[in-house]
Symmetry: C2
Subunit: 176 residues, 2 copies
């Protein structure tokens, strides 16, 4: 599942610029299980254009650089659906936070608390995004992914809050 395929998928839901594709990952709470950087999105769109998977129209605006709006072609749509019929690559996940917590016993207590609070904040923000979503998801897929995201982030936030509360107790005991 490379960035080219992901771009095709996004474009199959509607036209977009490279910038807008990136924004979908960051903001829209679209979901937090797929992302890509500009450094791979722009080259991907160029190559997809060469391959005839997408078409571009340059909307020249007054006193602004052109907006390059990409649309998926029939070829692209077929190629995308075809790639979904083949076995999917496995998830890749790297969480520096979780890894760092493996070594909490080697770190100063305030640093551990700081790491926890930072991560709790980030997770709560993502969860809030997923909760404030429009009540009626567009497609069945949207409904599934929204529910999935909520389930995962609720579990994460619950666990972290609980652990953080335990930690407070320990700190109080240690201070006595």
């Amino acid at each position: 599942m490379d960035v080219r395929t992901i771009c095709l998928g996004i474009l199959s839901r509607g036209d977009a610029t490279g910038y807008e594709i990136k924004k979908l990952f960051d903001e829209d709470g679209y979901q937090h299980f797929v992302e890509a950087s500009f450094g791979s999105i722009y080259p991907a769109l160029s190559r997809l254009t060469q391959e005839g998977m997408v078409s571009v129209r340059a909307e020249s605006q007054e006193k602004r650089p052109d907006r390059k709006v990409y649309s998926i072609t029939d070829t692209g749509r077929r190629a995308f659906l075809n790639s979904l019929m083949k076995p999917l690559p496995e998830d890749r996940h790297r969480s520096p936070f979780v890894f760092a917590m493996l070594f909490s016993h080697l770190l100063p207590h305030p640093r551990v608390v700081e790491m926890l609070d930072t991560y709790i904040g980030q997770s709560e923000t993502k969860l809030a995004q997923l909760m404030e979503q429009k009540p009626q998801p567009q497609t069945e897929g949207d409904r599934f992914v929204l529910g999935y995201g909520r389930a995962v982030y609720i579990a994460i936030v619950n666990y972290l809050r609980h652990y953080r509360a335990e930690l407070k107790g320990d700190a109080a005991e240690a201070a006595e």
Copy 2:
């Protein structure tokens, strides 16, 4: 949090070969939130050796290629702990399965069921690994990460099983 830092962390818990480091990610149920490939582990270990962060001893075995056992040095240990004091990079996550499910309404029903069942199987395997763990984790960090992994995978498996059950109902209705 690059692969070099991750290798340092692993080695701070005990000596290992490149092969063993990789195995920890795959098997040990060590945890499913950090991984790395051979293609990045071996170069990382070479460079760490050059930099004096780790040392190597080649255990030459009879009729086998040398086992290169890596040990972390004091310099490496200090550098690693120091990197944990700086702000941590954010999680990166890419789940082809979740992305593909966004388009379930465009796919044949059997394919959707197949994707779901495959992913449920994988998640159950990981959860089983996390549950059969030795009852007494080594460090506080181990305890935290084990609990975190269990919480996340329990939520995932629950949600997927529930969704899959719903789907069965739909399919039955559609067949009538």
